[in-house]
């Protein structure tokens, strides 16, 4: 144990015993290893300022809570259920995975696994099917994080006999009674989640942290693209980079733009075109640089450019 922390006398009552002892916060911070998780979050997730701020706040609270617990300053287990709202491709799932590891490091979830489900895995198809199904998922998620993607599908307002309501009731019950065993994260698009919470006020009040994921700016999208390419051992040639900046601006204006996901898809298509271009000339001797770099033609061949010129 940390010798700097001298636990107060055996009495539980805090009002009688003045909790004494000092805590070396930096040391606690390092001991938990949370710094590196937060740094990793900063490094690997681009943009998302409000999200990072909120996660830092939660992490700080949990760190303090840990120390308080050690000093016998009793307090309720903080509610850690969260809801992530934001447009497609803004990194909700990625952040959920990170959150799980942060909570695990701080000791607020025991195992740190993430069970990611959608409506299909929770709601049954006939009477009596839903409860065992939901409970099975809950059991698997115990000690970790249950991530419910597109949570609003659980509630079908047009059909009042829908089994989704049963799943919601079981979820609410477990979220309330087993707060120390399980953290539930709901995710979905902003407006539909609002509607979902409006029709299930129980959910709204049981979730302490509502985090909104903003859309990425053009600069952030470019940085994301370069990070993704770097991870895949590709790079953009300077010309291709210029073209890709234009591509982002054009793609954003088009319908069905889903932020980082669209960027990833675009990169995948560019890789296809690059491979095709390289294979077209079989007699050429390739250097590692040729294989790694995406050229301007790979970018410009995109449909996005032809659509914008034609109208």
């Amino acid at each position: 144990m940390n010798p700097q922390v001298t636990a107060p006398a055996a009495t539980r009552d805090v009002s009688e015993t003045q909790p004494s002892g000092q805590v070396d916060l930096r040391r606690e911070f390092n001991e938990v290893g949370i710094g590196e998780v937060l740094d990793q979050l900063d490094r690997e997730l681009i943009g998302l300022k409000p999200v990072k701020t909120r996660i830092r706040e939660i992490a700080s609270l949990l760190l303090i809570e840990r120390i308080r617990k050690r000093m016998n300053l009793t307090s309720e287990v903080p509610t850690l259920h969260m809801s992530f709202t934001g447009n497609p491709g803004t990194g909700k799932t990625t952040v959920a995975l990170r959150i799980a590891s942060i909570l695990h490091k701080l000791g607020f979830v025991r195992r740190g696994q993430v069970v990611s489900v959608t409506r299909d895995e929770l709601v049954g198809q006939y009477i009596g099917h839903t409860a065992p199904k939901t409970k099975e998922i809950l059991k698997k998620a115990m000690g970790g994080v249950l991530f419910i993607d597109e949570a609003y599908y659980l509630h079908r307002p047009d059909n009042e006999r829908d089994y989704g309501q049963e799943a919601i009731e079981i979820l609410l019950q477990v979220m309330e009674s087993q707060r120390e065993d399980l953290v539930v994260i709901l995710a979905g698009y902003g407006d539909r989640m609002d509607k979902f919470f409006a029709s299930n006020p129980g959910f709204r009040s049981r979730i302490a942290h509502h985090i909104d994921f903003p859309d990425y700016s053009d600069v952030e999208l470019l940085a994301i693209a370069e990070l993704m390419l770097h991870d895949m051992n590709y790079k953009l040639s300077p010309d291709a980079r210029q073209a890709f900046v234009r591509y982002i601006a054009l793609r954003k204006a088009q319908p069905l733009f889903s932020n980082a996901r669209s960027i990833r898809n675009a990169l995948d298509r560019m890789r296809l075109r690059q491979a095709n271009r390289l294979v077209a000339d079989l007699d050429r001797v390739l250097s590692a640089d040729d294989i790694m770099s995406l050229e301007v033609s790979d970018v410009l061949a995109s449909r996005v450019f032809s659509n914008s010129s034609s109208g």
């Binding site: 809950l138 698997k140 115990m142 000690g143 970790g144």
Partner: protein, 141 residues
């Protein structure tokens, strides 16, 4: 008479926390934990009824405890045991089993003697509890 079957049955009854630690040990080994119950405690009765399905792919004992508490709500007046099934090749059998719930009163067993073939005697044990119909043993309705 206290029924002693499976692990830990000569120890005082396990608390929920102890049960939870044992279950966590099983999960750590990759065994699937099952909850079974019966009101016929005869030692040769090896097939107890299952509460739900075997719980594969669990990470934390809290899930098993949740089911155990559900089971206790319904069958709190019967014997409930946990068994841990090892599905790995070469084992494929129960590795550990222990009683986690028992009736308040355990009337015990009697020895029955059958006189057969002249002066030969065959012995058998019979639980006093099973004299009453199923569901009404151990002070059930």
């Amino acid at each position: 008479m206290r029924v002693t079957q499976g692990c830990f049955s000569f120890l005082p009854d396990l608390t929920d926390e102890q049960i939870s630690r044992q279950v966590q040990y099983c999960l750590g080994k990759g065994w699937a934990v099952n909850i079974e119950f019966t009101d016929d405690p005869h030692p040769r009765n090896s097939f107890w009824e299952m509460w739900g399905l075997p719980m594969f792919d669990l990470r934390d004992a809290a899930g098993v405890l949740m089911e155990l508490n559900e089971c206790r709500k319904v069958y709190g007046d019967r014997y409930i045991r946990m068994s841990a099934f090892d599905s790995s090749h070469g084992w494929e059998s129960v590795r550990l089993s222990f009683i986690v719930n028992r009736p308040k009163e355990e009337p015990g067993f009697r020895l029955e003697r059958h006189e057969v073939d002249g002066r030969n005697i065959r012995y058998t044990t019979k639980s006093y509890a099973v004299d009453r119909p199923e569901g009404q043993r151990y002070g059930g309705k």
